[in-house]
Symmetry: C2
Subunit: 297 residues, 2 copies
């Protein structure tokens, strides 16, 4: 069973389907913390949640919930293009009303002005809620995630709808700590470091990565809730914790910042980014081992 931030028919479900086996049961939850709680308690094996530029929000909630409470570790990521389908009731007449989440509507504004200029635009709690409301006869059309047609027998008026062509959303599949995914050579590692707000703490952390030739793919700072003057740094980097360079770098982060939490090493959804060399780490460790045993200098 895989928990996801619902309802059914949203981009998060679409991301979850990309990961799940065909037989797997997918269970929608109302909130990100509720989906994560299901994975933490063992009620489900995994949870799929948005972590970056989500159409329907909830990203800050995800980041906070991963940094606090029982640890969860990512085993996969999904990157989806933000492309909507426009769905209508079969046999509908002229489209007078079109509904979706405000963030989705903001991303198809030009398309609507061109293709449905006279339609009234109505906001709903999610893109899927819009599709359901169309099925119920409340509105004529919905701007939805492509996966919505799995749940709602609606007519597809248009696909691949987006004003901005290269917008993307990113999701993680997480579960409690266990055996890590095997390294593939194209992996990403996520960590969150909680540190007191002193000058230079983040520069120290990033210098440890740079000194080891490790590429940072994302960083975001957020103040911790309730503990004044403390920050969390969410760091994504290229490589797998089982690689010597990445492992050495994470140990260095932990030396600077004991409240460093491992959020997973998992295959990148999209290729690219330089891969740090590991040979010199292996050679250096062998040399040190020889020196310590009196076999070299």
């Amino acid at each position: 069973m895989l928990a996801y931030f619902g309802p059914q028919g949203t981009f998060t479900e679409q991301a979850a389907r990309g990961f799940a086996s065909p037989q797997e049961e997918l269970v929608p939850f109302d909130t990100v913390p509720a989906a994560l709680a299901a994975a933490r308690s063992g009620a489900t094996q995994w949870a799929c949640v948005p972590v970056e530029n989500s159409v329907e929000g909830a990203v800050p909630a995800t980041m906070d919930a991963l940094a606090e409470g029982e640890p969860l570790v990512a085993v996969a990521e999904a990157v989806l293009p933000v492309r909507f389908s426009v769905l209508a009731r079969p046999g509908h007449g002229r489209v007078r009303t079109v509904a979706s989440h405000p963030h989705a509507l903001a991303q198809v504004r030009h398309w609507l002005a061109e293709h449905l200029p006279s339609a009234e635009v109505v906001s709903t709690a999610s893109t899927a809620a819009a599709a359901r409301a169309v099925l119920n006869g409340d509105f004529d059309a919905a701007v939805s995630a492509p996966v919505a047609v799995r749940h709602y027998p609606l007519e597809v008026l248009a696909t691949d709808v987006a004003d901005v062509r290269d917008a993307k959303t990113r999701f993680l599949v997480v579960r409690p700590p266990g055996a890590l995914p095997e390294p593939t050579g194209h992996d990403r590692t996520s960590v969150v470091c909680t540190a007191p707000d002193r000058v230079g703490v983040l520069a120290d952390l990033l210098a440890e990565l740079a000194l080891r030739g490790i590429n940072l793919t994302r960083i975001e700072s957020r103040p911790t809730k309730g503990r004044l003057g403390e920050y969390r740094f969410y760091i994504d980097l290229d490589g797998h914790v089982s690689e010597p360079g990445v492992g050495d770098a994470l140990a260095a982060l932990h030396r600077h910042c004991p409240e460093t939490r491992f959020l997973g090493s998992y295959p990148k959804a999209e290729p690219g980014g330089p891969v740090a060399g590991n040979e010199e780490f292996v050679a250096a460790a062998e040399w040190l081992s020889d020196v310590r045993r009196g076999r070299g200098a």
Copy 2:
């Protein structure tokens, strides 16, 4: 005239009112880019836009729009607590429906469960749209920004409503480059650096700040649109560009990253954070000047 991300009655208007003089005309715009375009063209003197944890979204749009196009510079920031007012039609009966933006509804879920457990919850495009719909008789109550009652003659059922007590939103007031606000001793400076995605580029930038004792208050990375393998780093730091230490640091950022854009030095809305010492920069500059003129060593 001050442009803001509308509609009337939202948190962004509330932030704009804290900055504007009482006589100032405030003009709502449908989107963040439209509000910024008004300030860029001179149609309005200023624009007020959300930059962090906004209730109604649009923050990524703000960040992209400030980094691109004609430069705009912040002259003030506003930090508002996320506390809602619940508004109803005067003379209403039992509250059967309550409306707001999905993000606002997510932040008052517990309050609604306790105080209006049987009310149906409906999403709208903004918190202000909910208030307007209540006035029109579409719904019984709205979860809105406190400022909404200025525009909609509704009964205040509750104020200071929030499930999480310490959530905050942050806004900037921007205008085209011109005379900077005077330093106050409690200022923040914002810059955005666009850099090729090479290992260690951000570590280099942050080391320049740390070496000068300059405190970072926020960092966020975003890939640039359209230019593959390039990142933007949005950096907020303590201090004013007119201070020797901050100025020296910004010049260093520009040496590493020619595409560094100054987004403003402005008084911090909330006090706190260490202030970097400037005396040693002044003393060092005087020493260097003496050395160069043959008057010291």
